[in-house]
Subunit: 348 residues, 2 copies
């Protein structure tokens, strides 16, 4: 990546790498075979490019993302791939559907979530099934009961979903393939019992080894995590960096200080990756790196950091700066789907 | 903390605990003996309450925080306690000073940062001195040379600063006191050589054991970190929680899923603390907890999480909800100083 001359810290997208990722995925999972996951990038500007590539259906992790997508005209078919019991927020989704602003489907995995959806006027659901990740999802054999309850309450059951998040980072492709086959098998069984057209699931790490799903819920493939970079069989390229500036150098100590830290980087998977020095640690607004003695850094130099986990990294920035292969800025994409309050815009 | 009936995840401030913290600190470090650090809370609404308590001088970690404070009428005496070489951003600070919008002082620790400040029309600086934290700060014996350079370039040197961030979490008070005395001693020596009225430094963990500084740069004391909670001698109370809702329960597995995760919590110091279950892990929008078998959680219940590190936690939210002892919402404080681009507001 050729670094742009911009104020730092800044989230920078390598457009050629992004374009490669989008084209590669679209060739393998065209159109509705992919339901891009908005949580990875939280940007309607980026989502529009995926729609332009033929993917009109999206999934979201928050009501905020759902509503933002709908209001941006990207509401062709929106799935809230998460459980929600908040009646006010669910009702807003119900209204989006009733007004024709969006097709709205929500995931449910319990009597409580089914009843909350029905009470809010939600008309379409997927039964969320546990496939081994200790998080949401009903026991597979409970799916038919929840589907029946949903139908009794007047809702259309479009099918099932299940997310094998515990397997998306398994480094060895053969092991990943085998474990996905085993763990996702109950999703097919649940689908046979529930019915419907949709089996939704998988992620960037399992997009081509999960043979059960009718649609893949991948989002990270667009920009790529540092973590996913360790899956050498994936055909996607790293497209996102946090570009920083060296603001201080301690020659005796052998370290340099960059002007981006914890508040600019997702830290849950550990320190970012830096090509020009070992990362010593990150603090709120700083990353301290130790360059090799024969390649010191100077105050004012630009340094790119590769975040380990893009989703929370993107969520810390209001904007992505898009550059071409020469480092020239060619676009800006707003990160406009952050936060959770429907009325967050009012406070900005 | 009595949990409020609000949409989740939400950043919630316990006002009685906050008031206790502010009053306790103001009694020990009244007025200008405290320079509250805005980076901890990024909110001009909260800062105004500190000004009301007599603290009119503030320090900031970003130009964005500086400009936001100035434009909110809180520009009595603003210190950028961080190095910046960006000419555009520095020039904006110079303009704030020239227009009388704020008194502006910036930290410098190198020839480059001194020259960048002078070129941008900055009129006042502190020499930032290394006191043991591997980050910014010049070698103590280089401080007089940088001060001379600053004066030669027409700037007023108000004194020195140095931050013993490597010691603020030392659990044992006696050890903390002894190590601060040793490591901060060079700051006093540098000050004697540099001159000026100001010796700025310390933090919440060392606010009453650092006897060198004339002003304490503490911010976390207002809301208190989970990490600082392990310093039993500190007289401050935890005042910040991320309130979540249980959205899924797996009875066979023994876990419950909360609707706040990595995107709502600072994760650099590890998982949040939960009183009603052990935290298994956090993902983007979820925290999975294992409650004791005899005290299970139910879908719809509210659960409070105590973040380990408040600064990056606050920076993930647009708003703090302020509650009284009964859990009633009594105020909302905007987190209006997030991001780095001066023109971020344009993109929101």
């Amino acid at each position: 990546m050729t670094l742009p001359e911009i104020s730092t810290p800044a989230l920078v997208v390598d457009k050629p790498a992004f374009d490669h990722n989008v084209a590669t995925m679209s060739a393998r999972r065209p159109g509705a075979a992919l339901r891009p996951h908005v949580k990875a990038f939280k940007s309607t500007d980026l989502a529009q490019l995926l729609a332009d590539a033929g993917h009109l259906d999206f999934c979201c992790a928050t009501v905020r993302e759902m509503e933002g997508m709908a209001l941006a005209g990207l509401g062709h078919d929106l799935l809230l791939a998460n459980e929600v019991v908040d009646p006010v927020r669910l009702r807003r989704l119900g209204t989006l559907a009733e007004t024709g602003t969006a097709r709205v489907t929500v995931a449910v995995d319990s009597e409580e979530t089914v009843r909350a959806a029905a009470a809010a006027g939600i008309k379409e659901v997927l039964i969320d099934v546990y496939v081994g990740l200790p998080r949401c999802g009903c026991p597979p054999d409970d799916a038919p009961r929840l589907a029946d309850l949903a139908r009794t309450l007047g809702m259309h059951v479009r099918g099932v979903m299940g997310y094998e998040g515990h397997l998306v980072h398994v480094a060895d492709r053969d092991e990943r393939t085998a474990r996905v086959a085993t763990d996702v098998a109950p999703l097919a069984v649940a689908h046979a019992a529930v019915g419907g057209d949709v089996i939704s699931g998988a992620g960037t790490g399992t997009f081509d080894v999960n043979t059960v799903v009718t649609e893949v819920q991948a989002g990270s493939y667009t920009l790529m995590d540092g973590e996913y970079g360790e899956l050498s069989d994936l055909p996607f390229r790293p497209a996102l960096r946090v570009v920083t500036t060296v603001i201080s150098v301690n020659r005796a100590g052998g370290w340099a200080v960059l002007d981006g830290g914890i508040k600019a980087l997702g830290m849950d998977q550990g320190n970012p990756i830096c090509a020009v020095g070992d990362v010593l640690y990150c603090s709120d607004e700083h990353t301290v790196v130790c360059p090799p003695p024969d390649a010191p850094l100077a105050v004012g130099e630009r340094v790119a950091l590769a975040p380990r986990h893009i989703d929370p990294t993107v969520a810390k920035h209001p904007l992505m700066i898009v550059i071409d292969a020469t480092g020239a800025v060619v676009d800006e994409w707003r990160v406009d789907l952050r936060g959770w309050r429907i009325d967050d815009e009012r406070h900005r």
